[in-house]
């Protein structure tokens, strides 16, 4: 494998890891506050549809992004209402979000566009265009680092850089601010937070809404940057892979970046190398395509060690029994 191929692989890895990363960070906020969220998939799907639909109707991708974030945050608010205010089962509420999104997107899409739940193809201002970072041209002559900068780091859409910037931001927010301390505390021992006079319900609501916003960006990225329009069920399980990455990263932001890049890389390899010829033995394409999932199981079962979720996760907080 030559250097140019490696660069192409890394470039593709970054593209495919971005939705995972955003969803993974979204899950991190929610779960660190003690609200399990298996509705990442549904929120992304709702956001992908809304972003594509609004971008198609207005021709402005930024309005699409805003609408996608709103839709996803709306879904998150339903989840918060069910699982925080009404103390419902968080897993069931998450599943309900997934079903709701899968059905609603197709239903509304069919009524709006009559294209079988699909949105029209987006063009021009309806999509996020790749950005060439400053100096990419000039530096590409520098050996090794130049092409790396020009090929891999430069030339993505703005949402990729937002996702990458969200990692240190999340770290800072969680570990260096008062809000972060309280957020982590409310996922470990909500009673202590309550005793200190801080609203458990308020903190959890904020966390779940942040989760909604990040899922919204992830969904908008899928529909308006990676592809040009919405197709039913286009998230294709990425919300669940993000959950696996979250557990792999043990609910920590920097490790989440690593985990998502790993999953993105596995997907890239499966796409690029469909039949691998290992000196006489050909590894069939089916094995390559199953590889990300097999490795997910292996990693989660074997290498991650003990992944301890936030102690109060999944438990609705009851002030007095």
């Amino acid at each position: 494998m030559d250097f140019a191929t490696l660069l192409q692989l890394l470039d593709s890895t970054l593209r495919l890891a971005t939705p995972l990363l955003l969803a993974c960070l979204a899950g991190l906020y929610s779960e660190r506050a003690g609200i399990f969220d298996i509705g990442l998939e549904g929120k992304m799907l709702a956001a992908a549809f809304t972003a594509a639909a609004v971008a198609a109707l207005t021709g402005n991708v930024w309005l699409g992004l805003a609408a996608g974030i709103l839709a996803s945050a709306g879904m998150a608010a339903i989840h918060a209402l069910a699982s925080i205010t009404f103390r419902g089962n968080q897993l069931i509420s998450g599943v309900a979000i997934n079903f709701l999104a899968a059905g609603m997107t197709v239903l509304v899409g069919q009524n709006l566009f009559a294209l079988g739940g699909r949105t029209p193809q987006l063009a021009g201002g309806g999509r996020f265009a790749p950005i060439t970072l400053p100096g990419a041209e000039a530096l590409s002559a520098v050996p090794l680092l130049g092409p790396l900068y020009a090929e891999v780091i430069s030339g993505h859409t703005i949402l990729v850089y937002i996702a990458l910037a969200a990692v240190p931001l999340t770290w800072w927010l969680l570990y260096r601010t008062r809000f972060g301390l309280r957020l982590r505390a409310v996922g470990e021992n909500p009673a202590a937070v309550d005793t200190a006079g801080v609203s458990v319900v308020g903190l959890r609501f904020v966390a779940v809404l942040i989760c909604g916003v990040l899922c919204g960006i992830a969904g908008a990225y899928l529909a308006t940057a990676l592809s040009a329009g919405f197709v039913k069920d286009m998230t294709a399980g990425r919300g669940f892979i993000a959950l696996a990455a979250l557990i792999f990263a043990k609910w920590r932001p920097v490790q989440a970046l690593g985990a998502c890049l790993l999953f993105g890389f596995l997907e890239t390899v499966a796409i690029r190398y469909q039949n691998v010829d290992l000196g006489g033995v050909v590894v069939p394409v089916q094995v390559m395509q199953a590889l990300p999932y097999i490795l997910t199981v292996v990693i989660l079962a074997g290498f991650v060690g003990k992944a301890i979720p936030p102690r109060a996760g999944g438990e609705p907080y009851v002030k007095e029994r």
Binding site: S12, L226, S227, I271, Q274, Q286
Partner: protein, 331 residues
């Protein structure tokens, strides 16, 4: 008392609707969905054409999951629909079990192979049509490398890929054909993100014309090819209009004609194997104003010559499904 009356009323209403619907034909679309801009949409267009010409109505069902197939077939058969047309190889096994239970109902299956006295098996010679677009791809390619993106990895899709590769090699024996499949589950028909990524990966490996035979996934392939400034080839329906000037041509598979004919025949549908090949206009390639600047007169002449030879039997395109091997491409 009133409960019994209600029941009687409901039963009467049911009998009435069943009686009225007796002559209605029905169509079942596969998982790609009615508006996949490709295979199922072609079937839908055929049904619409019949409805417009005859003023008749038809029943339709869209599959949402694998588990619904048998249920859908039985429901339509019991509702008195006749004939029932279904699109997609995946109905094969189910139809084989269901068809004997409704001997008076005629079924037609596109792409599947079912041997029952009341079933019409409609097969297309996709390898012949793919051969023609393969020739066009090789003539339009400057790099000598062309790509193929399949949907779900099944023998039928390999037949597309194999015919395509043979066409490419017929024009340029040294050409490289990069063939990729999107997946091994029916979800592979509906993953435009992965389709786009496959197209970008093939472009990175030098391909400058990419043929997508992947249902809804193909939309992502065509989009990515247009974004990257290379050519693509659509499939099943005429997809040239999706990106004018960026889609070299489309391999036409006249599923619309197959559905139209079946609907038109109605209850007198002839059963048995019905092959729609190049000679009978079942497959072909699309030319319209969107791709006219891309295809020169020489290219078209070369392809038309080959088409005439295939139609007359002078040129035989190897069919992957006849022996599960491909002389021009290894999958």
């Amino acid at each position: 008392m009133s409960v019994t009356k209600n029941f009687l009323g409901a039963a009467a209403a049911l009998a009435l609707t069943a009686g009225m619907a007796a002559a209605e034909p029905a169509i079942i679309f596969d998982l790609g969905g009615k508006f996949d801009k490709s295979f199922n949409e072609a079937a839908f267009n055929g049904a619409q054409r019949w409805a417009q010409e005859t003023g008749g109505t038809y029943k339709e069902l869209e599959m949402q999951s694998e588990a619904q197939r048998e249920q859908a077939l039985r429901r339509l058969a019991e509702a008195g629909a006749n004939p029932i047309v279904m699109t997609g190889f995946a109905f094969g096994d189910v139809l084989n079990q269901v068809a004997p239970d409704y001997p008076d109902t005629k079924f037609a299956i596109v792409d599947g192979f079912v041997e029952q006295p009341n079933v019409r098996t409609i097969l297309f010679t996709e390898h012949e049509g793919s051969y023609l677009v393969g020739m066009l791809a090789a003539m339009a390619s400057k790099s000598g490398t062309v790509g193929f993106v399949g949907g779900m990895d099944i023998p039928l899709i390999r037949r597309f890929g194999c015919g395509y590769a043979q066409g490419v090699k017929a024009v340029n024996p040294n050409a490289t054909v990069i063939a990729n499949m999107t997946g091994t589950t029916p979800a592979a028909w509906n993953d435009p993100v992965k389709g786009a990524e496959l197209a970008k990966s093939q472009k990175a490996q030098g391909a400058d014309v990419i043929y997508a035979a992947a249902g809804g996934t193909g939309i992502g392939v065509l989009q990515a090819a247009a974004d990257e400034g290379i050519l693509s080839i659509g499939v099943d329906s005429n997809q040239n209009y999706l990106h004018p000037g960026k889609v070299l041509t489309s391999m036409l598979k006249r599923v619309d004609n197959a559905v139209y004919e079946a609907f038109k025949a109605g209850e007198n549908l002839e059963t048995g194997i019905h092959v729609m090949n190049l000679a009978s206009g079942g497959v072909g390639y699309a030319m319209d104003e969107n791709n006219a600047p891309l295809v020169t007169a020489e290219m078209q002449a070369a392809v038309d010559t080959a088409a005439a030879k295939i139609a007359s039997g002078d040129l035989v395109v190897h069919d992957y499904m006849s022996d599960n091997t491909c002389p021009a491409l290894s999958f």
